[in-house]
Symmetry: C2
């Protein structure tokens, strides 16, 4: 079970070695996994739950730069300090590596570094997509893109209910992810429901008119 998400870069032997330096941590809802500018002494791999990744401005404005889902890694950049905070949106279980040990391990496994670079490149693409969203999309397009993205990501996760788009994060988190206010997020989603584009259900939403979303999403 845990093997699946731990690291696709390694063969069986390397995996066993990696597991030796890993330990599981659990975080309750709202708990901070790590804080912007703290020393980055761990690498995390989420095994269950959802976390929000946040950059804050001195005056309290927030930008959620992403949501971490099961399987996602945090801290692969191996920089000395965290550049963002991570908070548990739901209870989170994460496989945790001491950074110094992980780094030493990576130095001996070029294939792992290459994989880490691929992960970083992928994250950079996602970040650039998100720049387009933040800079150039309307509120309706932002919501459509977000929902399509979440549908795609959940669909890759074993045991998800197909069709259900789980939204464990609150409206405020969605707003801070999309560069909107909570009121606009609420208005747009509810307007979509009135227009029969989606239905709001417990824990998330379901698409009624997939074409509508595909046409609007980035």
């Amino acid at each position: 079970m845990r093997h699946l998400s731990i690291c696709q870069a390694l063969d069986a032997e390397e995996l066993t070695q990696l597991e030796d330096i890993a330990s599981d941590s659990v975080f309750d809802e709202r708990v901070v996994l790590f804080h912007e500018e703290d020393e980055a002494s761990s690498v995390f791999n989420l095994t269950a739950g959802v976390a929000r990744l946040i950059r804050s401005l001195p005056d309290g404005r927030r930008q959620v730069t992403g949501f971490a889902l099961p399987g996602d890694f945090l801290g692969l950049s191996l920089e000395k300090t965290w550049r963002y905070s991570a908070e548990a949106v739901t209870p989170v279980v994460a496989c945790r590596f001491r950074r110094s040990v992980f780094e030493a391990f990576a130095d001996k496994n070029p294939q792992l570094i290459k994989k880490m670079h691929e992960f970083a490149s992928h994250d950079l693409n996602m970040a650039q997509d998100h720049m387009v969203l933040l800079g150039r999309l309307t509120a309706e397009e932002k919501l459509a893109s977000f929902l399509v993205e979440m549908k795609k990501r959940w669909s890759r996760i074993a045991g998800h209910e197909p069709g259900l788009i789980r939204l464990p994060m609150g409206r405020q988190d969605i707003a801070d992810y999309l560069g909107l206010t909570i009121e606009t997020v609420s208005r747009v989603i509810n307007q979509m429901q009135r227009d029969r584009k989606l239905v709001i259900v417990p824990d998330g939403i379901r698409f009624v008119d997939q074409n509508y979303f595909d046409a609007l999403a980035l």
Copy 2:
């Protein structure tokens, strides 16, 4: 001269090897270095000039995701296709590597891959900064942040005139970088000049009130 910008990751011997697989290319103003979704068959290292990195939407809306300055690398992610276009803002000279050869070289030099990963991590940080800018800053704050960023980046480039913040890109490019319109960019900059925060000079601007910019910038 060129040695300085080619690759800080390598020792003298490796550098010589790398140079053997490199060739210089020049691009006139407005010329496309490569296009979104084209096969990525090269890796570039700018040696002179400035390029804009662009993601476009089907309806013509654009997001400039960044500007490449001398010393910057393009294509280090080693993905099969480009995810953005690059166009010369000024005449550009770039050191170009055939991707297949560069990749083979990297596979034999773990230190180079590690350096590439560091570059990607740095770019990811920049991208996250830019998400905060796009999602949460006002027009005035966006311009201040952009100008401070450009000042910082030019100051690291040998032969720049200290104090001058060169802006070779047009107002439209700045607007597409900041998620604004060209009119707003023009208005904000000219208002700053009226307020004696900066002066507009040929090829760029100069700060008059550095404190003002430091206080506003991200």
